[in-house]
């Protein structure tokens, strides 16, 4: 019996093999969304827990990786919904140097705050598309929506962000 068939039949050893094959990719995807390594580890385990629970619904002829990405995205989205007003955007993960020193820290903080207040489904696509620069096709596949809807959500996220920033008293073009 093939690995995926054994997994779908409930074989724990097959699940362990799949877990070890895919945990790195799943973690890397989730950490881009939630931006916290500890939370991403927990959500990786949560993702595989959901995968294991739903094994009977998995078609062994299907793509396990794509299915795992979909479930991981849902787990991360659930986290964003729960944490929307509770957590700050963590800064503990090192990123590349910011290119424009003219963007003052106060402005950055306002943008981060406005971004944090976006509804979870918009924050998800905006994070992946605008910050992580993931291809729209990949985001669409992982979120289980069409590419057009990804584009619409990114567009709306930018508009919401602008509205929020305007409400905070920040005007576009003010920094230049």
């Amino acid at each position: 019996m093939e690995l995926l068939e054994r997994f779908a039949a409930g074989d724990l050893e097959a699940f362990a093999v799949l877990f070890r094959q895919h945990q790195k990719q799943v973690y890397a995807w989730i950490v881009r969304i939630v931006r916290d390594s500890g939370i991403a580890e927990d959500l990786t385990v949560e993702t595989f827990w959901r995968i294991y629970r739903s094994r009977a619904r998995f078609d062994p002829a299907g793509n396990f990786g794509a299915w795992a990405y979909r479930i991981a995205t849902n787990a991360a989205l659930d986290h964003l919904r729960r944490a929307r007003f509770e957590t700050e955007l963590p800064e503990d993960l090192p990123g590349p140097p910011r290119p424009d020193p003219a963007v003052r820290s106060e402005m950055r903080e306002r943008i981060r705050q406005a971004f944090r207040e976006l509804p979870a489904k918009y924050r998800l696509v905006a994070t992946l598309a605008l910050i992580e620069e993931e291809p729209y096709e990949k985001i669409a596949g992982a979120a289980g929506i069409s590419v057009s809807l990804v584009k619409v959500r990114v567009f709306r996220a930018v508009r919401m962000l602008r509205k929020q920033l305007t409400a905070m008293g920040m005007e576009m073009g003010a920094k230049r």
């Binding site: 724990l12 973690y27 390594s37 993960l93 576009m172």
Partner: protein, 73 residues
């Protein structure tokens, strides 16, 4: 509000929130996964179910007691 403004905002966003540079998983999560698999689902005793059913039935049959119940909570 125009496309130029949107472009500027996208640029500001990228400067304010940096992409995650380290996406490498630092350890094997299989031990945590095993722990999670070992956790038994919470078992609710049959008595609790019976009590909940009885209470629901009572509230359905006598909805007038709901305000009084809420007052005493």
């Amino acid at each position: 509000m125009n496309l130029q403004d949107d472009k500027e905002l996208r640029e500001l966003l990228k400067q304010s929130i940096a992409p995650v540079a380290d996406t490498e998983l630092q350890r094997d999560l299989w031990p945590q996964m095993l722990k999670r698999l070992d956790q038994q689902p919470v078992q609710v005793p049959w008595f609790d179910w019976a009590l909940a059913a009885l209470l629901s039935a009572a509230l359905l049959l006598f909805p007038g007691v709901i305000p009084a119940l809420l007052y005493h909570l």
